[in-house]
Symmetry: C2
Subunit: 449 residues, 2 copies
């Protein structure tokens, strides 16, 4: 069903805001995008981002409006993890089947391109304009220099809050009664570091891998950029024996890398300087409900469901919000009340599911990777999946290489976990993990589901 | 250890704010209490409160500063529930042992007395003065007519946020990184109604009982006031077949009471009028952490841990915060950093525990009271507790008639629940619930703990 063109404000010119602008322009809506910050195309992008991993859900959302190819040239496919375990040669873990990959993109570079594309479609961007208040029932926004300065009033038909985890639009909704909300920070922070390109512009490490240096309570990761560099993220507890708090001097930083990351240390140029120049960032899981206010206001992306980055799905989930919203707009035309209510009902359980999966991945990485039982369990799962690929699709693949709902991936993952719990209790499982009996036992347990 | 007198601001002149003012004045601190609302002693108290149930923790906190007796004359002891089940004569359930009671007090009347007492101690109250911003590291507050009007700046040594579930002080803390926060509303609302006194000033129902009309998904409760009236609270889902949403006209309200509360209907004067004049209030569980900012700012009471009212512990928990804080002030003298950090570390798990217990009571009341298995389990517990009072103290008594930590009550309650789960699985438990074998089984399971 066609929609009557509306005058729509999008708050936030990040990835989700820009993509939503493109979708809504295609339908014919008049779009103004507000951002409190400067045009990212005119400034040096700040060093506080983990590189993004675009996977199936992200590409599908870009392809739907035909811009996938305009983004792909900014991205590098990663078809495997490169594991850098101490005292062991580096080894690879393939992500999925042949041809399956996640794509590394720098947030800054992607965001610039997305804004270019949205402008090409006719969206109007108003940078450096801070939204301080939103009149939800009237769809009015108020902008100004400061919270206390004189404000300018804008009247719109609809407002989309794409202003991220600390959304001002949501903040306004949150002050209303019966608005559920939570923000939970994890005790681990991260810091961006850089491995520059070789002098000839090539990558210093395998460029088609997601590099991980797991160290139990902390880890370093590196993802390639198209200019030959790698963006690294050091994940480390804020407090404790080995922590950001405990590294106060350049000497301590050097010592830390020498001890725990001896092989990568030389690659990170200006290591100790970067360590103290770049900020230490916190990570939060943010949930809320409802996501919409009548037929006037809707939250999309991180403003509705910020997650920790350990599944690489934050941007993909936000883009999928838009994909689903678009399906509902096509289905319900001008019935925005139905569009918004079905949007939040359909997306909320999936956002909760990917939040849970991302948090579990954090727990898994920080506390389980060294547990022999956990390693054995993963080995059995892999062994079985290789023999019965149609019967055992790992959760990672369901999340990353599929477009089935996140909630389904979580549910099937829990079912698989239940089966593995029983399998791990089999006597002498350590010796006969790859035996026919164990395989048959899993098959039998799968049939019981 | 003695404390050096400080200049302290308390934000909020509610029950917790006034009691904290009394405690701090006793130590010799200079106290200014700010409240955005008018002096409650000069206005008619609004009809949106459930009567309060003062129990052990509350009394202990009042007695510590010698004001228990000044409050007791405002309260009526309730030693039992009066159950009004449809098609059954009313029956009583004793709360505890002889002499154990909870005390019904009107929030408005109590708050007025508390402010009087705090003024007697020398606390200065600034009513109708709205705090809009707080400078946490500098302990400054900013007040003014509106958020955008000119503000007045005050400098203090410490600030206590006693400004309730929607605390402005916490709101300021919440915008900082690594502040965990959640607000979760339940789908049930409540509305205040009144049963007036008889013409001779006596109570229309037994005055020493907490009256309950349980109806599955909803219920009515009534608590006595010293003027002979009862304050009633109708708890009802916001939406659904029988809900606040479904009662739109006076006819529908009359029909609702006729059908579900035929016996109490006549007692509630102006029933249908009150129903539409009084607001429908929402109930929230609010959790956050940290509760303090360095040695400058601390949250006390609902601002730190708002809970649903189904355990009657909201005020008691807030008063206990103050009791514990006072112990820590006595212990650590001028070391406010230690006082604040031990305060939040000690109170947080207990606040979480009473939040959980209160929420469980809500679930129990709304969905389990009609379940025959649940009723049988409670019967077995009661039977066993009567025979072995020293071995089985019910959670309700641990929360209400004890001053042991809430977290301990929750843990022991979970242990008891684990035992009862096993007991309920015994074959033919319905027939032999009061047999010697069942009793021995419980004793055996208790020994295993």
């Amino acid at each position: 069903m066609a929609q009557t063109p509306k005058n729509i404000a999008i708050i936030g010119s990040g990835l989700v805001g820009s993509l939503l602008a493109i979708y809504l322009r295609r339908i014919g809506h008049q779009i103004t995008v507000f951002d409190r910050r400067s045009d990212i195309r005119t400034i040096k992008f700040s060093g506080r981002s983990i590189n993004l991993a675009m996977s199936n859900r992200g590409w599908r959302s870009l392809d739907e409006v035909g811009i996938g190819d305009r983004i792909k040239d900014l991205a590098i496919p990663l078809d495997k993890r490169a594991m850098h375990v101490n005292d062991k040669p580096m080894y690879f873990q393939k992500y999925g089947k042949d041809g399956e990959a996640i794509w590394s993109i720098s947030r800054g570079i992607l965001n610039k391109r997305m804004i270019d594309l949205a402008e090409e479609e006719g969206a109007v961007f108003r940078f450096n304009e801070k939204v301080w208040d939103v009149d939800l029932p009237e769809a009015k926004i108020y902008t100004g220099e400061t919270e206390k300065s004189e404000w300018k009033e804008y009247q719109f038909d609809k407002i989309f809050g794409c202003d991220g985890a600390f959304s001002r639009v949501r903040h306004k909704m949150q002050r209303r009664s019966r608005f559920n909300y939570s923000q939970n920070f994890i005790d681990v922070g991260y810091k961006e570091l850089t491995i520059p390109a070789n002098e000839d512009g090539t990558h210093k490490l395998d460029k088609n891998s997601f590099h991980i240096w797991p160290r139990g309570e902390f880890m370093l990761i590196a993802m390639p950029n198209i200019d030959g560099s790698f963006t690294c993220s050091l994940f480390l507890p804020f407090e404790g024996e080995v922590s950001f708090e405990s590294i106060k001097t350049e000497d301590q930083a050097r010592e830390f890398f020498k001890k725990y990351f001896p092989n990568v240390r030389k690659e990170i140029e200006d290591l100790t300087k970067d360590f103290f120049i770049n900020p230490t960032s916190a990570m939060v899981t943010m949930k809320c409900y409802p996501w919409t206010y009548w037929d006037k206001v809707a939250l999309v992306g991180d403003s509705a469901h910020a997650i920790v980055p350990f599944y690489g799905q934050g941007m993909n989930a936000g883009f999928e919000d838009i994909y689903i919203l678009n399906q509902l707009m096509e289905k319900h035309g001008d019935d925005w009340e139905t569009i918004f209510s079905e949007y939040q009902e359909e997306r909320k359980p999936n956002a909760d599911a990917i939040a849970e999966l991302s948090y579990r991945n954090f727990v898994e990485m920080s506390s389980k990777t060294a547990d022999p039982k956990f390693i054995l369990q993963k080995k059995i799962e892999k062994h079985f999946a290789a023999r019965h690929p149609e019967k055992w699709v790992p959760v990672y693949s369901r999340v990353t290489f599929s477009d089935r709902p996140y909630a389904e991936a979580l549910a099937i993952g829990d079912m698989q976990e239940g089966i593995m719990k029983k399998v791990m209790q089999l006597p002498n499982i350590e010796e006969r993990w790859d035996s026919k009996e164990v395989e048959d036992k899993i098959l039998e347990l799968l049939t019981d589901q």
